[in-house]
Symmetry: C2
Subunit: 335 residues, 2 copies
């Protein structure tokens, strides 16, 4: 079964390189790994693996390191790694006493970054369409008001609207009463219809339409387009294998969100349990030296958690941790 041994060699190279961050040679492999063959045989295998583009030499007569394609092959063949019991417990205790959605997300991202020793990212969970519970309008200065919408699934959204011309206190109070009477308990198309009607009523305040828009938007479902991250220092920590000038673009991508969001969308579309992008597979220059491991969670598995680190990362461990956190998040978020 020479084919099978070649896989084993690739496997060993990946693990060796991940562990030491140094090119691994045939001799060392023959000695430390119980492959049962001599270094010469391994050299032959290596030559073939190199032809297939799975490994490469950083320079002539150095050991081999895996290419992106090599990692890919390794990952595809990977059986899920069991999560250490200690980690499993940590997830439970760490997340169980979260106080609201923000808190859950915040804790998750911290936890995941600690478990994986990578940068963790969590996309805000998607939201069910909900009904209006209460609308508050609060004056801010002469020309603006803040619209606060509390919806039935305990979300709170706020946004300011311009009042345009001066509005009397009576009109203002009347608008608050009316919009609550109109919207209370409604959601979706019926809410929209009712509010449109209300806004068009004769003698209505001129900013009623703007308020209606905010209320409708606040109860709409869908994914909030936002990710939070934690553990950025893991990128810079010694032995991350990333040079100082590679990490700046990565930090930019994390802060800018948009690149990251697009990538997460793509990965979500793949629909695997845990999905992995390796190096250039991310299709973003800034991330071409990093890999990202992500798993979906929540209603319809529509949001993502992930870990991002150097291509030379511990894939089995990271995938295990990401999967576990995703599962836990699903439980918490779906109730």
């Amino acid at each position: 079964m020479t084919e099978e041994r070649r896989r084993a060699v690739l496997h060993a190279i990946v693990e060796g390189y991940v562990a030491t961050h140094e090119p691994v040679g045939s001799k060392a492999l023959a000695e430390t790994r119980a492959l049962g063959v001599s270094s010469a045989t391994i050299r032959n295998d290596m030559a073939i693996l190199e032809e297939e583009g799975l490994i490469a030499q950083p320079y002539t007569s150095a050991g081999r390191i895996p290419t992106d394609k090599g990692y890919r092959s390794f990952v595809d063949q990977l059986a899920a790694a069991a999560l250490p019991e200690a980690h499993r417990r940590a997830i439970g205790t760490f997340l169980s006493d979260a106080v609201d959605l923000n808190d859950v997300v915040e804790r998750s991202v911290r936890l995941l970054s600690q478990l994986t020793r990578q940068v963790a990212v969590v996309q805000y969970p998607s939201l069910r369409e909900s009904a209006v519970r209460r609308v508050e309008l609060v004056r801010m200065g002469a020309e603006h008001a803040l619209v606060v919408v509390v919806s039935s699934d305990a979300r709170v959204e706020q946004q300011s609207v311009a009042l345009g011309e001066a509005t009397s206190d009576e009109d203002f109070e009347r608008a608050v009463r009316e919009v609550n009477a109109t919207a209370h308990g409604l959601g979706g198309a019926r809410l929209e219809a009712a509010l449109t009607l209300w806004a068009q009523a004769p003698d209505q305040v001129p900013w009623a339409g703007a308020v209606a828009d905010v209320v409708v938007a606040a109860t709409r479902g869908g994914t909030v387009e936002r990710v939070v991250f934690a553990g950025a220092s893991n990128l810079a920590r010694a032995g991350s294998g990333l040079e100082a000038d590679t990490i700046a673009p990565v930090l930019d991508a994390l802060e800018e969100q948009v690149v990251l969001l697009r990538l997460l969308h793509e990965m979500a579309a793949e629909g695997d349990d845990v999905s992995v992008r390796i190096g250039a597979e991310t299709h973003y220059e800034a991330l071409s030296r990093t890999s990202i491991v992500a798993a979906a969670y929540g209603r319809d598995a529509s949001s993502l958690v992930g870990a991002l680190g150097p291509t030379r990362m511990d894939y089995p461990g990271t995938m295990g941790a990401v999967r576990a956190v995703a599962r836990y998040l699903s439980k918490v978020v779906e109730l």
Copy 2:
């Protein structure tokens, strides 16, 4: 005025080192700077400056670089630098169409990081004690409820409380009605007294005390202990002058908040217009290679904006930008 020239020499050394990131020698100084004296004289001055601990040689017979103390002396003698007109305009346009408090803070921190090319930090503004406008309770699962408090100054706070034993829908609705009736329009000590009374009423739901606490906390004034940052990639960008292993601890400090908050508190206490901590003056190991420039803003100047970067930073420029953003923020937040 030999004393005065020595100041000028220090000044020149700081500027030279900031610009080139290389030790600056007496000859180069005599040639490029119009100091009107020869390099030998400058050498004598340098010897004295070195004795005073203001400059140092990285190794024998290299040029000099400023010490923390040298930067300090430089900064203390600094006249405020005028802010480029383009920047001034940018602040106006960039911040003017912010939509709510979060948005203001978010935009400010981005803007400041761009202006200074450093990591910008903004502490959330302090809040006036406010009155209750509306309290909402939303059931979440069987055992928890979310308390949402909208206060008169348009703040919205939310927190979940445990219900303990099962509560009937009637009791729940009654509690909502009562708490609103009790708390509406009240703030401070009177609010606290009223709610305490309400929570202790006979036949009251067991979680009334918890709700009361949340409501009181939500309207209390004071500074929200939270900072946001942006521009972390500036730390890693080429030429920042920070090594890869110095930046990891800095990123940690930024994410952990607590170190940063303590430092900002200390700086706020100094009460200067713009306050600067240089290198070891931060008293934190993690930040010993960085400086932080901060200015207070908002009511009672109780919150801070700042920029954090390598000790070798452009102090005049950074101080100008920080001051300008702080002023603008004050305007926006105080209305």
